[in-house]
């Protein structure tokens, strides 16, 4: 567990300006601060409609009646309380891929998720932090305002990377565990050896709004060095002999970029969002730059 806090006070104060946003409207949910196109018992005026027999007289707009001699009812927006869940990758692959001197993906993701949690707490949102490795781990639900940030921060600090990435299993388990649709923020490197796209598509098909925050290390995208290497997969332990030179390095980077484009395409195609972050991008720059650009926060 890192000795120092994940986020300093000054940064937290800056985070108070941000708000988590989602685009979808989810039926059957009440509360929260995001606008909904459904009418309900909210605070914000939505529209008028003709009075029908049986309507609540307290909702009649009497001013309009005095003026028009007709009975009209006010309609208000429903502010649904959207469940926000953060799926953060704690598999072993999150410890590799960063060059010495730069933070690992795991540490980076923890700080990022901590920041997003604080943003949610400030706006009185409820967030569930759901770490996963080869399966879903014990989550924590954060709600009740900024003064409830400390337990979440400690929870994140205690996380330990373990397990191999298996998004199929994670998606299945997630859908079973969380039948209620909501905003699902997946913070991961998405390096599933089998397939990352279809599990995410399943989540989207189920109705979850996906926000994919793709995190990678500098070595994940552009491997350094030249010559013969014995490469070991961090999760499976499989060893392969690789010969690195400039042309092979370019080919590798191209393949990685294609993968990132595919992720982005999947998110956008399903009405979600995508943000790609390299670990050498400061958290501050990420939250005030990349992530707002993807309309994940505002």
């Amino acid at each position: 567990m890192p000795a120092s806090p994940l986020l300093d006070r000054e940064f937290l104060e800056r985070l108070e300006r941000l708000t988590l946003q989602w685009q979808k409207s989810f039926r059957g949910l009440v509360g929260g601060h995001n606008l909904s196109r459904f009418a309900g018992s909210g605070q914000e005026f939505l529209d008028h409609r003709t009075f029908h027999h049986g309507d609540d007289l307290r909702s009649v707009n009497w001013r309009a009646f005095l003026r028009l001699d007709k009975l009209f009812l006010k309609m208000f927006q429903v502010e649904p309380r959207v469940p926000v869940r953060v799926l953060l990758d704690t598999s072993v692959s999150m410890t590799a891929g960063s060059s010495p001197g730069t933070p690992t993906k795991f540490d980076y993701v923890r700080r990022l998720v901590a920041a997003m949690t604080y943003v949610g707490l400030v706006k009185l949102d409820t967030l569930a932090l759901q770490p996963f490795g080869s399966r879903l781990l014990d989550p924590i639900v954060c709600s009740g305002g900024r003064h409830r940030f400390q337990p979440a921060e400690q929870y994140l600090r205690k996380l330990v990377p373990a397990g191999n990435t298996n998004l199929f299993e994670i998606a299945r388990e997630y859908i079973e565990t969380y039948p209620q649709r909501g905003l699902t923020i997946v913070v991961s490197d998405f390096l599933d050896p089998i397939d990352a796209m279809r599990p995410l598509q399943y989540l989207s098909d189920f109705g979850h709004e996906l926000m994919l925050i793709h995190v990678w290390g500098d070595e994940d995208r552009v491997p350094s060095g030249s010559g013969e290497f014995a490469m070991f997969d961090a999760e499976s332990g499989v060893e392969s002999k690789v010969s690195l030179d400039e042309s092979s390095r370019r080919a590798y980077t191209t393949a990685f970029d294609e993968f990132a484009i595919d992720l982005q395409r999947l998110a956008l195609r399903n009405g979600g969002r995508y943000a790609g972050l390299q670990t050498d991008v400061a958290i501050e720059d990420a939250l005030f730059g990349q992530v707002p650009l993807s309309r994940g926060v505002a």
Partner: protein
């Protein structure tokens, strides 16, 4: 097929050890540059050849095999693999060629040395062509002429250039050297072949000859008579008389009656005859008078086949006298003292001149003194106080000499006790002065040593040795003799002239010389190293030369021109092979393969580098089972985007 430089065991040992090292380095090299990555999916392997981490098999066996093959070829090239010559292995032979003085013996139309050269050449030509030979010339010392070489023609050339020396054969030392040479690495030991006569020194040291020893003796005439030693010195007789002693030895096995002839210049002395038994040596003496310089020659008749030591000579110098200038008013008292010695030529003068006399070697001032110190050794007898070379400490009417100091021989033989002299003067001594005689602790006779670079020692006598008290005392002539000898030692040394063999020269020192400084120099006045053990002095010369041994009272000149003749004969044991060996049946020229092997090793290494190095052909490597993961073909991002849009 055979190895020239390494044996099979040595080759295998080297190959196994270096191969092990290469294999260890191979594995070490293959595991370096390990890296843990998040995923391998973006490295698109052409073949799925991923392995488990725990396996550490040889991944490119052909690479390792090629490296080991090139190592084997290189080692074979270094070991000089020979193709041919059957199963015969290369051997190292040593030829010891006798070059002692005995080999100068005439034998028919030539010398024994020529016959030995012919036999040695025949022996070398009978050896297998690939065998290696080392040539050693043996006399008093053993000298290797070549290294071990299979170039037999070079050996034959060196044998042809051999000449006899002046020392006797030390065969035991030569055999010991040969055994040591054959133990040097590379090849099997062959034969040690000795070619020469059977005359040598210390045959008793040859009791343990090696089994591979062969003897090729040349027939030598064992009968010989030669001069062993000649010594000439001045006779005790008056005049310029010399005594010469010529020592002759019979080296043969029958008695002989030689005649010894001697001559000086054109004067032939009466020959002397003698009878010598086998191994005996006897001397003949000659006395003659001459005041000239010249050469005394000695000759033994009849001459035999070895003439080197049957004639010798000694050069005698011109015995010049010591020129003494005596400044005295009492010449009549000095004449008996000085004229009695033939080594002294004295002239008498009444007055002291202003300058030093130029035609004298020594000057005596009797109660006189020159205004300046002379540039000659000088003897002062009671000089005036004002002109004394040393300050006068006191003057007495009389004094008693109670102590004589034997300083550098000045007090030698002087034993007079309580010798009264009158008058007497004592002198103050300085650092260069020593007191020869003391009277009441005052120096009454002082010798002033020459300062470095100066030629003018002097002796100061503070009493009158020719006064009526001492005129007839033994002390006076003894004192004069000691003083003149000290002042001019060259003229008074006992000189000897000796002719003897070169090599180790030894002589007996006189007891009086033991405390003297001994100098041994050659004809060019270069110092020769020497040792003194007891009264025996020894020094060594390797070739004929003239050496001089000088002490305070003696001078010996050695004419080391006689050869050192071995005094013993040696009969080899019956079991020792003799004569030339049978001609080698395996005289087949073998082919040296080292060049081809070296080229093959280089080509193998090049092949390995081309196949498995950085520039290796990937296709060839794959076909040989190499694990080659290369990223997939680069993708044009623009093309991918266009495809995505059209989908």
């Amino acid at each position: 097929m055979s190895f020239l430089n390494l044996s099979l065991a040595e080759f295998l040992t080297l190959f196994v050890s270096i191969s092990g090292l290469i294999t260890a380095l191979y594995f070490l090299d293959r595991v370096k540059k390990r890296r843990t990555v998040s995923t391998l999916r973006f490295f698109a392997p052409n073949t799925r050849a991923e392995q488990k981490r725990s396996s550490r098999r040889v991944r490119e066996p052909w690479s390792l095999l090629l490296q080991l093959l090139s190592l084997a070829l290189l080692l074979l090239a270094l070991s000089r693999l020979q193709w041919g010559a059957g199963n015969q292995r290369i051997r190292n032979h040593v030829v010891i060629l006798d070059t002692s003085s005995w080999m100068a013996q005439r034998n028919g139309s030539g010398a024994l040395q020529d016959e030995a050269i012919r036999v040695a050449q025949q022996y070398v030509r009978r050896l297998p062509v690939n065998d290696r030979v080392l040539l050693v010339r043996a006399d008093g010392l053993s000298t290797p002429v070549t290294r071990f070489t299979s170039d037999h023609e070079e050996i034959v050339r060196q044998i042809r250039q051999t000449k006899p020396s002046y020392s006797a054969l030390n065969l035991a030392q030569a055999v010991s050297f040969a055994k040591q040479a054959q133990s040097w690495p590379g090849g099997m030991p062959g034969e040690i072949a000795y070619v020469g006569s059977n005359r040598l020194d210390h045959p008793e040291n040859l009791s343990q000859l090696p089994e591979n020893f062969r003897v090729l003796l040349v027939s030598a005439n064992q009968e010989h008579l030669g001069i062993q030693h000649v010594e000439v010195h001045r006779s005790e007789q008056p005049g310029h008389t010399w005594d010469a002693s010529v020592t002759v030895r019979n080296y043969g096995s029958v008695s002989k009656s030689p005649i010894i002839n001697a001559s000086f210049g054109r004067v032939h002395f009466a020959p002397k005859s003698m009878v010598l038994e086998p191994g005996e040596e006897r001397s003949a003496t000659f006395s003659f008078s001459t005041g000239n310089t010249g050469r005394l020659e000695s000759l033994v008749a009849p001459a035999d086949s070895l003439s080197l030591d049957q004639r010798t000579f000694v050069e005698l110098p011109n015995p010049s006298a010591l020129r003494v200038a005596v400044f005295t008013s009492r010449a009549s008292l000095f004449r008996p003292l000085l004229d009695s010695d033939r080594r002294v030529a004295a002239k008498y003068f009444d007055n002291v001149p202003g300058a030093s006399p130029t035609d004298a070697d020594l000057v005596i001032y009797d109660r006189m003194a020159p205004p300046t110190k002379p540039d000659l050794p000088a003897l002062y007898i009671m000089p005036p106080t004002a002109a004394s070379p040393l300050p006068v400490s006191k003057s007495d009417e009389s004094a008693i000499i109670n102590q004589w100091n034997d300083v550098a021989g000045l007090g030698e033989g002087l034993r007079s006790k309580e010798l009264r002299v009158s008058p007497a003067m004592s002198y103050k001594t300085d650092q260069q002065s020593v007191a020869v005689a003391n009277a009441s602790n005052s120096a009454i006779v002082v010798a002033h040593l020459p300062v470095a670079g100066s030629k003018n020692p002097f002796v100061l006598v503070g009493f009158d040795p020719l006064g009526k008290d001492l005129r007839y005392q033994l002390t006076t002539p003894l004192l004069f003799a000691n003083m003149m000898r000290w002042l001019s030692p060259d003229k008074f040394r006992v000189a000897s002239y000796i002719s003897q063999p070169a090599g180790v020269a030894s002589m007996q020192l006189d007891r009086t010389e033991l405390n003297d400084e001994i100098r041994v120099v050659d004809s060019k006045n270069r110092k020769l190293p020497h040792i003194v053990q007891g009264q025996q002095l020894q020094f060594f010369v390797t070739s004929p030369t003239v050496a001089t041994v000088t002490s305070l009272g003696h001078e010996r000149t050695f004419f080391l021109t006689l050869p050192e003749i071995a005094q013993a004969g040696w009969t080899p044991a019956e079991k020792i092979p003799r004569g030339l060996p049978a001609a080698s049946i395996a005289n087949v020229q073998s082919t040296d393969l080292w060049r081809w092997l070296a080229v093959a090793a280089a080509l193998t290494l090049l092949t390995e580098w081309l196949l498995f190095g950085r520039g290796g052909s990937s296709r060839v490597r794959r076909s040989l089972g190499a694990n080659d993961l290369r990223p997939a073909e680069p993708v044009d991002p623009a093309q991918k985007k266009e495809e995505a849009l059209t989908r």
